[in-house]
Symmetry: C2
Subunit: 328 residues, 2 copies
Amino acid sequence: MQAAELDVVGIGNAIVDIIAHADDAFLDRHGMQKGAMTLVDEARAESLYDAMGPAVQLSGGSAANTIAGLASLGARAGYIGKVRQDALGRIFRHDITSAGVDFPTPSAQDGPATARCFIFVTPDAQRTMNTFLGASVNLSPADVDEDLVRSAKIIYLEGYLYDPPHAQQAFHRAATIAHGAGRKVALSLSDRFCVERYRAQFRELASLHVDYLFANESELTALYETDFETALSRVVEAVDLAAVTRGAAGSVIATKSSITNIHAVPVDRVIDTTGAGDLFAAGFLFGLARDRAHVECGRLASLAAAEIISHYGGRPETPLKDYVAARA
Amino acid sequence: MQAAELDVVGIGNAIVDIIAHADDAFLDRHGMQKGAMTLVDEARAESLYDAMGPAVQLSGGSAANTIAGLASLGARAGYIGKVRQDALGRIFRHDITSAGVDFPTPSAQDGPATARCFIFVTPDAQRTMNTFLGASVNLSPADVDEDLVRSAKIIYLEGYLYDPPHAQQAFHRAATIAHGAGRKVALSLSDRFCVERYRAQFRELASLHVDYLFANESELTALYETDFETALSRVVEAVDLAAVTRGAAGSVIATKSSITNIHAVPVDRVIDTTGAGDLFAAGFLFGLARDRAHVECGRLASLAAAEIISHYGGRPETPLKDYVAARA
């Protein structure tokens, strides 16, 4: 087995976030499920944008946020995802490559526009997401750069990838290449409703292809349709390690032989929870890739999540390497 | 004289900001004048973007920030500025109209792309701006909607408007319409280097057409090429009122008969000074349009500026009406 050149390669839906405030009445009026990620078509995307208040645009995408977070921590990272060659695609590519991430996936020259996610942040700092998948639906197995996947210690896949039509195959191809090269495969369950859409597939995937699983409590209990304790005991039958977040209550790291509770890192004021899970995964994966103890992985994860929830958007505002060093 | 329907109408370069961190060495390496607004051509814009780190996109433009701030304070406001019909133009139009601002200027169907400003924020929270004027160069006198200008108590013009070729005429047309309708004309000096480019014109403008002048200390002393005290005495010979900001030292309101010092509103942490002057003007103009005492205008100005420097970008994150009410 060749030495890995990269720490982590992520595969996901390449999305630009459009973030604005809204109150709960707005969510109700527009029939939104608070806290969830809902897929929308272009017409709905347009009408939501028309209804939305003044917004901020920045790169997003769950696995892309994680990979940008890893780069910000000092990791060597790569990303696979599909944008179109358009203004938002340019923004996405700029942000991830200027973070130092290897992003070899070519932009689509035609077809749907670059994916965007309309995120409404309520006064409780909760985010409600409406995703127009756009060019992401054209991610295909051919986009899974074999050399890139083989070059990373860990390949990280977002559950949201089950939504676009060909991405499941891309997902499986990546996992097969990674394991064939002796690498590890990590999966994020992404969203409770995503788990409900693909429960059977995610359970099979966890058993057959996943070494490290990331989820929040609600996603994990949705996966096994049971209570938290039972779900924890089930998940470690399937995977080597599960890192499960519980918001302000911290997180739980479960393996076949241990359960470890990690405290959340308190922040002065939670502004926007967009990217909290993504950045938790970034910190944890950084620790795993650098062979740190699980407790230290959890501490890095909590710190990265703390940085991201103290401002808008799912990409770090402060270099995470500095943020972590200042809190060592 | 008909009763005014709007409080303020602003005219300016319609710009989308692209904001990223940089250190002082980056500014030096790229030959930037720290704290200034420098005009760049498209090739330079592209190379700066390539060199820039991960960024955040949000609507900007000096007068547009002021007008968005006024709307956020609860004012009825309008804006005149030129974007192209493209992705950034859509963002600009969305943000200002969804803030409740009347924005009748049609988008250009061809010609240069929507203007963008590459803003580098250094660790001292100072911002250094590089503006590609793009579609703003096509703002013309015909874009000055006579009914809109006549409908506002105050017309607010940014000094930056002297950079694009036809905007000076638009500027003069607006001032003439406003005064013809018995309205007031306000001018922001915008930037020290902008003052140096158009010193003679700005002095003439101030004497002949301007009722209220907004500037920072450095712009005002550049206008009269003298010390601060002398410049203050000169400016009130030309205009009815000058509101001059001095950063953390607060601001000075000068009229022919009085000088009033206003304290800055302290913030926990200054993140990014982008828009500080623009939002100071927003608060002050709100007070003027609502016939408040100058001291109260200054207090509103300081509060609006305090909100804007506590986060990235020049558009309010918190509704200013609420921000002000919470600090009454």
